[in-house]
C-alpha cells in the first residue's frame, strides 16, 4: 500500500500537504482534458487563448508581471479570450474566401454531416463554403496559420526535421499507426461513396415512380392491369404547391411514336435462388436476386435511360419472352451478371449463357450498361413469363417520364397522380426523391464509420503522445540550449507541435495511398428505404478527392491532439533545470 501511495505522491508523514497535492494533481488532470479540446484550434489562436486558461504561464512574453490588484488577472484572461476569438474569425474568414475561389464540386458528404450535427438556423447563418466544404476550410486555416507563424517567428524548424530524420525508425513506427487508421477510414468512406453514387445515378430527374397506395416498397405494391393504362392520359397544369406551370405537364411519348407513351409497366419480384458452384452442385447457401418483368423493353430502356452493350451482340427479349427451346429470355445488369457468373466459374455471364431461376432455365440475350445504377443488380424478362412463373399477375410498378423531362415536372405530375387519380389509389414519387430516400442507410453507415474511426484514432493518438513525450525527455538539454540561445517559449511549443504534425502527415499520406487501393473494386450491400423495403445492390467502391481530404484532415486532428500536451510540457521546462 505504501508503495502505491508513494507512487502517486502521497507522503504518509505529511498528510495534509499530500492531500492538497492530490487535489492539485486532479485539477491538472481536468485542465488537461480541456486542453485537448483546445488543441484543435489553429496555433495562433491557441497561443493567444492559453493565457485565459493558464494565466500564470508566460507564452508570448518572457515573464509575467505580478498582478497588483484583483482586476489584472481576469482582465488578462478576458484580453486573451477576445484576442483569440478575433484571430479565429480572421483566419476562418480568410480561408472561406480562398475556399470560394477553389474549383470544388457542388455536392459533398460533408454537407450531410454538417447538416446532421448543427441546428438549421445556424446553418443558414454560415457561409456556404463553410457548410459544404468545411474540411477544406479547416485545412486552409491550419495551413495559413502555420505559414504565418513560420514567417513571423523564427521557429527552429530545421532542428525538428533533423530529429525526425535521424530517428527515422521511431518516426516511421509512430507514423505507421496513423497509416493504418487513415487507410481504413478511406476504404470505408469510399464504400459509402460507392453506395451513394448508386443513388445519385439511378434516378432520372424527369421520371415519376408509381406504386400502389400504402406500399412500402415495390415488393408490396399491387397495381391491377386494366386500370393503370389510363394513367397515360393524365396531365396537370399546377405544381405541387398549387402554382401555375408555364405549360401543362403530361406523360411523354416515345420519340417518333406519338401513340406510344413513355410509361414502363413492371412486375418486380425478389427471387430466392440456391448458390451453385461451378460443378453445378448447390453449396447450401442461398441468395436473393431481383427480377423485373417488363411489358415493353424498348419503352423501359427509354424511360430508365438504359442501353444494351453494343459490342457483344446484346438484344432485348422477344415479345414471346422465350426462345425456341422454351428458355426464358432475359437481359442482365452488369452486377448480377458478375454474381451469377461466379456460380459458373466465369467472371461474368455473357450473351448465350444459361442459368436456373425458379424452376425454369433462363438464357441471357443481352447485358445492360448499368454502371453505377441499382439496375445493375437486376434481371429483366417479359412480364407475362415472370408473372406466370411466380404467380404475380398484377404490375407492381409504373415508371413514367414527364413531357418536360425535368424534376419540376416530375414533382408536379407525381403530386397530381397521388391526389387526383381516381381510378386507383396511387403512391407517386419523383424517381430522384425515391432513390434519395433509399440512401438513409448511407447516413447510418457513415455514423458507424465515424465511430469506428474515432475509436481507432485513440490508438494512434496514444502512440504519438508516447513518442513525443519520450523524444522530449531525451532532448531536455537541447531545449535548454535553445532557450538560452534566445528562442521563446511559444517557438518551442510550435516547433514540437510541428514535429508531431509532421509524423501525422507522413503517416496520413501513406494511409491515403494505401486506402485508395480499394478504388474500383465491387462489393454488395443493401439499400433500405425503411421498414419492409430493401434492395441488394452491387456497387463500385469510389475514392474521390473529398475522401482524401477527409483522410488528411483526420490525421491532422489526431496529430494535434496527440502532440499538444507533450509540446506544452516541453515549453514549460525551466532553462536551468533542463541543463542540469
Amino acid at each position: 500500500m505504501n508503495a502505491l501511495l508513494t507512487m502517486i505522491g502521497f507522503d504518509t508523514d505529511n498528510i495534509s500537504e499530500s492531500l492538497i497535492n492530490l487535489v492539485k494533481r486532479f485539477g491538472t488532470l481536468v485542465a488537461t482534458c480541456f486542453l485537448l479540446g483546445l488543441s484543435l484550434l489553429p496555433l495562433a489562436v491557441l497561443l493567444l487563448a492559453l493565457p485565459a486558461v493558464l494565466p500564470q504561464e508566460t507564452i508570448l512574453t518572457n515573464s509575467i508581471r505580478r498582478s497588483r490588484d484583483v482586476f489584472s488577472e481576469p482582465l488578462r484572461r478576458l484580453g486573451a479570450v477576445v484576442a483569440s476569438i478575433a484571430m479565429l474569425i480572421t483566419l476562418i474568414a480568410f480561408s472561406v474566401e480562398v475556399a470560394n475561389r477553389l474549383p470544388l464540386p457542388e455536392f459533398s458528404y460533408f454537407e450531410t454531416i454538417s447538416r446532421m450535427l448543427l441546428p438549421d438556423r445556424l446553418i443558414q447563418e454560415m457561409p456556404l463554403a463553410l457548410v459544404r466544404h468545411w474540411p477544406y476550410v479547416i485545412l486552409l486555416v491550419y495551413a495559413t496559420d502555420l505559414l504565418a507563424l513560420l514567417f513571423i517567428g523564427k521557429v527552429p524548424l530545421s532542428y525538428n526535421i533533423r530529429n525526425l530524420t535521424v530517428r527515422w525508425r521511431i518516426t516511421l513506427l509512430t507514423a505507421l499507426a496513423f497509416t493504418v487508421v487513415v487507410a481504413l477510414l478511406v476504404a470505408l468512406l469510399a464504400f459509402v461513396n460507392g453506395m451513394n453514387n448508386l443513388n445519385q445515378n439511378s434516378g432520372v430527374p424527369g421520371n415519376v415512380f408509381v406504386l400502389s397506395d400504402g406500399a412500402l416498397d415495390e415488393l408490396f405494391s399491387n397495381l391491377a392491369y386494366g386500370n393503370i393504362d389510363s394513367i397515360a392520359n393524365e396531365f396537370t397544369q399546377v405544381d405541387e404547391n398549387g402554382n401555375l406551370l408555364p405549360s401543362p405537364v403530361r406523360v411523354k411519348t416515345m420519340p417518333g411514336m406519338p401513340d406510344k407513351f413513355m410509361m414502363s409497366k413492371e412486375i418486380y419480384c425478389v427471387i430466392n435462388m440456391p448458390v451453385r458452384n461451378p460443378d453445378g452442385f448447390e453449396t447450401g447457401k442461398r441468395r436473393f436476386v431481383q427480377l423485373r418483368g417488363i411489358e415493353d423493353p424498348l419503352i423501359a430502356s427509354a424511360v430508365h435511360e438504359i442501353l444494351l452493350n453494343p459490342n457483344d451482340g446484346s438484344k432485348w427479349f422477344s415479345d414471346a419472352g422465350v426462345d425456341a427451346e422454351g428458355n426464358v429470355q432475359a437481359v442482365l445488369g452488369e452486377g448480377v451478371a458478375q454474381t451469377l457468373g461466379a456460380d459458373q466459374g466465369k467472371p461474368r455471364l455473357e450473351v448465350g449463357d444459361k442459368f436456373e431461376l425458379g424452376n425454369r432455365t433462363y438464357v441471357v440475350t443481352g447485358i445492360m450498361l448499368t454502371e453505377g445504377k441499382t439496375f445493375g443488380s437486376e434481371i429483366w424478362a417479359r412480364h407475362t413469363i415472370v408473372g406466370n412463373q411466380f404467380g404475380k399477375d398484377k404490375f407492381t410498378t409504373v415508371v413514367l417520364r414527364v413531357s418536360d423531362d425535368s424534376l419540376v415536372g416530375a414533382k408536379a405530375l407525381a403530386n397530381h397522380l397521388q391526389k387526383e387519380f381516381k381510378t386507383l389509389k396511387l403512391k407517386a414519387t419523383p424517381e430522384v426523391i425515391y432513390y434519395s430516400n433509399l440512401s438513409r442507410t448511407n447516413k447510418q453507415f457513415l455514423v458507424a464509420i465515424m465511430v469506428v474511426a474515432a475509436i481507432m484514432a485513440i490508438g494512434g493518438i496514444f502512440g504519438v503522445m508516447n513518442t513525443m513525450f519520450a523524444a522530449i525527455a531525451q532532448r531536455i538539454k537541447d531545449i535548454g540550449v535553445l532557450r538560452i540561445l534566445g528562442f521563446k517559449r511559444w517557438q518551442i511549443l510550435v516547433s514540437f507541435l510541428l514535429e508531431s504534425l509532421l509524423i501525422a502527415l507522413i503517416g496520413g499520406v501513406f494511409g491515403v495511398a494505401l486506402g485508395s487501393l480499394v478504388d474500383g473494386y465491387s462489393a454488395t450491400s443493401i439499400l433500405s428505404s425503411g421498414p419492409g423495403g430493401g434492395k441488394s445492390v452491387v456497387l463500385r467502391i469510389d475514392v474521390t478527392p473529398d475522401i482524401i481530404v477527409a483522410g488528411i484532415l483526420f490525421t491532422m486532428i489526431m496529430g494535434r491532439i496527440g502532440g499538444l500536451i507533450p509540446a506544452l510540457s516541453a515549453m514549460r521546462l525551466q532553462i536551468l533545470d533542463s541543463l542540469r
Partner: protein, 471 residues
C-alpha cells in the same frame, strides 16, 4: 428487409456499450495499477518465493512503474482496442452461431420456394399435415399438431390519412395456443409472467378480436390495456380490423415491439370481404406466410424436405423446407461483404494498430534503458534473459489490459441479460465468457508481435560499446 433498420438499432446499442466500456477503462486505471501491485505482493509472499525466477519476474513488474504515464497510455490504448475487437468478434460469432445447424429437436421453416415475401394459400397447412402423416412415425412431430405453427403478418395503421411510424403496427398473426410451445426465449420469463401469458392466451382463444401488444409499441401508439381501436391494413388492402387490447408482454423482453393477433380473425375478415364484394380478396390465397414445424431429428427434416419437393402437392406456389438457421443464413447473404469487411479488414487493422502502439512504447523503453540493460549484462545476465525482460513487460500490459477489457465487456452484457435484438426471433446478444480468453489472447499476441523487434535489439546491446564512451 426491415431487419436492416432493426440491425441499425442493434448496432447503436452495441456502440453505446463499447463506448461505455471504454469510459469504464479510464475509471479502471487505478485498479489496473492495484492489480499489478497485488500480483507483485503475492509473488513476494508466495511459498516458493525462494526461487530467483520470482525475483526476475518482479523486475518486470517494477519496470512498468518506471514511467507511469507511459504505462497508462499503453494500457488505455490496448484496453480500448481490445474492447472493440472483442465486441466485433462477439457479434460475428453470434451471427455464426445462429446460422449453424442445431442437431436435434429443431424447428423447420416452410416458406414459398422462390419469392419473397413468401405467400402461400392457407390450405397448405392441411396439405403439410397430410404429407407428414405419410412419413414413418419416428419422423413425425412428437406433440402432433401442437408442434406446428402458422404465421401471417398483418401490418396496418390507425390513421390511414397520415401514416407514420408511430401509428403503425405490425401484427404476428397466429394461433395463440401454440405460442407457449413453439416460441423460443420463453425461459426468460418468470413463472408469474408465464401464468399471465397463459391467461391472456385463453382470453384470445375465446375472443378472436383480442390482441396482445408489447409495452414499447403500446407507448408509441399511445394506447393502454383495455383500449379498443380500429386498424386499416396496409398489406391487406381494404381490410379493416377492430381490436381490443387485452394485455401486454413482460416489459424489457424481446417482445417489446411485438403484437400478436388471432389468425382466425384474419381468415374471417377475408371471408367477409368475399361475401361483401362477391369476389375473393386478392390476398385470400396468399395469407399464409410461414409454417413452423418442430421435428425430432435431422433425418426427419430430410425426409420431409424430400417429400415436399417431389409430390405435386405444393405446386403453385412451390415451397421450400429449410432449417431455421439456413433461413437466417440467406438473409445474411446480402450482408456478406459487410461482414467479411469487418472480419478481414477492420479487425486486422485494429490488431495492427495495437501491435504498433505497443511496439512504439516498448522501443522507447528499450532505448531509454540501454545502459541499464548493459549493466545487467555486466552483472552476468544472458542476452536471452534481457530479451525476456522486455517481452515480459509487453506481455504483462497486454494480458492485463486485454483481460480487463474483455471482462468488462462480458460483464456489461451478461449482467443486464444481453443486448436485446428487438426482433422476437433472435436471442439476446451477449458477449460469451470465452471472450475473456480472446481478450487475453489478443492482448498477449499483439504484445509479443509489437515488442519482438525492440526485444531483439535489446538483446544485442553490446556491453563494451556502451561504456567506452565514459572517459
Amino acid at each position: 428487409m426491415f431487419l436492416i433498420d432493426l440491425s441499425i438499432l442493434f448496432g447503436i446499442s452495441i456502440s453505446t456499450l463499447t463506448i461505455l466500456c471504454i469510459v469504464l477503462g479510464i475509471v479502471l486505471m487505478p485498479p489496473f495499477y492495484l492489480i499489478l501491485l497485488a500480483l507483485e505482493k503475492t509473488l513476494l509472499v508466495a511459498q516458493w518465493a525462494g526461487f530467483s525466477v520470482i525475483r526476475f519476474i518482479l523486475l518486470v513488474f517494477r519496470s512498468l512503474q518506471r514511467n507511469l504515464l507511459r504505462t497508462a497510455l499503453s494500457y488505455m490504448a490496448i484496453y480500448v482496442l481490445v474492447s472493440v475487437v472483442v465486441m466485433i468478434w462477439s457479434v460475428l460469432s453470434f451471427l455464426d452461431g445462429i446460422t449453424t445447424e442445431k442437431q436435434e429437436d429443431f424447428k423447420v421453416l416452410i416458406t414459398e420456394k422462390f419469392q419473397i415475401p413468401s405467400q402461400m394459400p392457407p390450405s397448405y397447412e392441411q396439405r403439410l399435415l397430410s404429407i407428414i402423416d405419410e412419413l414413418p412415425p419416428e419422423y413425425r412431430m412428437k406433440n402432433g399438431e401442437m408442434d406446428v405453427m402458422t404465421w401471417a403478418f398483418v401490418g396496418g395503421t390507425l390513421d390511414p390519412t397520415k401514416q407514420t411510424f408511430e401509428n403503425s403496427i405490425f401484427f404476428f398473426c397466429m394461433q395463440p395456443k401454440k405460442f407457449p410451445t413453439m416460441m423460443s426465449g420463453l425461459e426468460e420469463f418468470t413463472p408469474e409472467e408465464m401464468a399471465e401469458l397463459n391467461r391472456l392466451i385463453d382470453l384470445m382463444e375465446k375472443d378472436k378480436k383480442k390482441v396482445v401488444i408489447g409495452t414499447g409499441r403500446l407507448e408509441k401508439l399511445q394506447k393502454k390495456v383495455g383500449d379498443r381501436f380500429k386498424m386499416v391494413s396496409l398489406n391487406y388492402k381494404d381490410l379493416e380490423f377492430e381490436f381490443e387490447i387485452v394485455g401486454t408482454f413482460p416489459k424489457g423482453s424481446r417482445y417489446d415491439e411485438s403484437a400478436v393477433m388471432h389468425r382466425d380473425y384474419l381468415y374471417d375478415t377475408l371471408r367477409d370481404y368475399e361475401k361483401r364484394t362477391g369476389m375473393p380478396h386478392p390476398m385470400a390465397n396468399k395469407c399464409l406466410n410461414l409454417i413452423w414445424v418442430r421435428l425430432p431429428s435431422k433425418e426427419a427434416y430430410s425426409a420431409l424436405a424430400a417429400k415436399a419437393n417431389e409430390s405435386g402437392s405444393f405446386s403453385t406456389p412451390a415451397v421450400k423446407v429449410e432449417t431455421e438457421s439456413s433461413g437466417v443464413g440467406s438473409f445474411l447473404d446480402a450482408y456478406r461483404d459487410l461482414i467479411n469487411g469487418m472480419r478481414y479488414m477492420v479487425v486486422p487493422a485494429i490488431l495492427a494498430t495495437m501491435a504498433l502502439v505497443i511496439a512504439n512504447a516498448i522501443s522507447i523503453t528499450v532505448r531509454e534503458r540501454r545502459t541499464e540493460m548493459a549493466v545487467l549484462k555486466v552483472l552476468g545476465f544472458t542476452p536471452g534473459m534481457i530479451m525476456m525482460l522486455v517481452l515480459g513487460e509487453a506481455l504483462l500490459i497486454g494480458v492485463l489490459a486485454g483481460g480487463m477489457a474483455s471482462s468488462v465487456m462480458c460483464v456489461l452484457t451478461q449482467a443486464q441479460g444481453g443486448v436485446k435484438f428487438p426482433i422476437a426471433f433472435f436471442p439476446a446478444f451477449k458477449v460469451p465468457y470465452e471472450a475473456i480468453s480472446w481478450g487475453i489472447a489478443i492482448g498477449a499476441a499483439t504484445a509479443l508481435a509489437g515488442s519482438l523487434l525492440p526485444a531483439l535489439s535489446a538483446r544485442r546491446v553490446k556491453v563494451s560499446e556502451v561504456f567506452s564512451r565514459v572517459a
